[in-house]
Symmetry: C2
Subunit: 238 residues, 2 copies
Amino acid sequence: MGTMSELLNSRVKAKSLVDTVTERLEAAIISGELAPGSRLSEQRLAISFGVSRGPLREAIRRLEGRQLLQRTANIGVHVTKLSWRDLTDLMLVREALEGMACRLAAEMMNPAELAELDQLLAEHGQLQDVQTGTGYYQQTRDFDFHFKIVTASRNERLIQMLCADMYDLLRIYRYRSSTFGGRAKAAYEEHRMILEALRSRDPDLSETAMRAHIRNSRLHIVKRLEELEASGNSQPAL
Amino acid sequence: MGTMSELLNSRVKAKSLVDTVTERLEAAIISGELAPGSRLSEQRLAISFGVSRGPLREAIRRLEGRQLLQRTANIGVHVTKLSWRDLTDLMLVREALEGMACRLAAEMMNPAELAELDQLLAEHGQLQDVQTGTGYYQQTRDFDFHFKIVTASRNERLIQMLCADMYDLLRIYRYRSSTFGGRAKAAYEEHRMILEALRSRDPDLSETAMRAHIRNSRLHIVKRLEELEASGNSQPAL
DNA sequence: TATTGTAGGACTGTCAACAGTTGACGTGCC
DNA sequence: GGCACGTCAACTGTTGACAGTCCTACAATA
C-alpha cells in the first residue's frame, strides 16, 4: 500500500464529463446544497454545470440507481427525501452490516491496524467535547473510526455498501439536524469497548459490541425525535 | 395492504423508453443472455433493442449505479464479473441483512403471514426432490420463502436491498452453476426451524436461525468450490 | 362560486450527427 | 523473424435540435 509502483501503475484518470458531473452532483446532494425533496431542472443544472444535457442526464441516471435521486416520468427528478422513519430503517441496516464487518475485522485485522485504531481513540479521548460529554463528537471523527474497522473486514462488497452508499446517505442528515449530538462520552466509551473486543480477536464479542453501539445511537436518535415532536416541532420531515 | 385505495391511488405507469430498456437489459444480464465479463457495444445493443443510443446509455448508467455493469472510459461497458470470492462476500452480507430482517419479522409478522409461510413449507415438504434430499430445491421456491420473511420486516430499505439488489445478483449464479444443489433436505429442515422461531416471536432465536441457515448455505458453497478446484476444474471464475 | 375547457409555456424524452479516442492491422526497418 | 511505427475503422463522448407531455393560468359555463 502506498508504494511508488502504485503511482506508476495508476492510469491517468480519463474521467469523462459524466464522471465529474456525477461527483459534483453527489457532493451537492450530500452537502445539502440541493435540498432533499427539491426538484431539479435538467436545463438549469446543465447550464450551471457548464455541460450539455446529455452527460447530466446520464449522471442523474447513475445516482438514480444509487437511490440518491428519484425520477418520475415526464415530471422530473427529485432529490430523495428521507423521512425520519427512513433514517431509523437505515440505522437498522447499518447495525446489521457493520456488526458483520466488525465480526470479520476481529479475525482479519493486523497489529498495525489495531495500533491505528488505538491512536485514533487516544486522540479522541483528549478532545474537550468528549471529556465534558456535552459535545457533538464530530461525525467526521466517528466515521473515521468506523471506516477503519469496515475496511479491515476485507469484504469488498461490505466496504462498498457501508463506506460508499450508507455513509453518504447518513451524511445527508448531518447537515440538517443535531440529532447525533449529546452522546460524545457514551460513544467514546463504546468505541473503546469495540476496540478491546477486536484486540482480543473475539468475533462474537466484537459483533455484539458494534451492534450495541449502533443500536444505542439509533435509540438516542429516536428519543431526540420524540422530544422534538413533543415540543410541537412537527417533524420537519428531515 | 391490498385495499382498493391502492388501486385508485396508484398512478398509471408512464414508463419511459429508458425504463423498458433498463428492465430488458437487467433481465438479459440476470438470465445470462449477456455473459458476465462480456463487453457490450452500445451501437449493436441499441439496434437490437430498436432504440437510439441515448436511452440505452441512460439505462446503462442506471445499472452501473447498481453495480451490474462497469464502464471504463473510452473503452466500453462490461457486464460485472463476479468471482467466487465475490459470491461468498455477498453471502456474508446476505447473512447479516437477512438475519436482521428475520429478527424484525419475528416482531412484525401477523398471523396471516405466518399461515402463508406454513402453507408454503407444507407444499415444499411434499416435493420429491426435498424428500429424497438429493434434488436442487429450486431456487425460486427458496427465494419465495425468504422473500416473504424479508417483506414482513416492514423495513423498506432492507426489503429493497435484499429483494431487489441482492437476489438479482445471486440469481446470476443460478444459471451458471449447480453450486446450490444437494442441500434440499437440510435447507428444508432449517426453514422449518426458522418458521418455528418466528411463530414463537423470539427475535434473537429468529435471527440466529436465519443466520445459521444462510451460513450453512455459504459453507456448502465453499465446500463445493473446493471440490471443484481439487478436481482440476480451475475455477471458471463464473 | 365552483367546475370545466383551453391555450400557452416550459420542460422532459428521444434522436441523429459530429468530434475525439482506442485498438487492430499492415507496412517498413533492424 | 521480430519490433516499432503509421494508418484506418469502429467505437465512445458529447452536442444540439425536434417532438411530445405536463403544468399553469385564464376564461367560459352552470
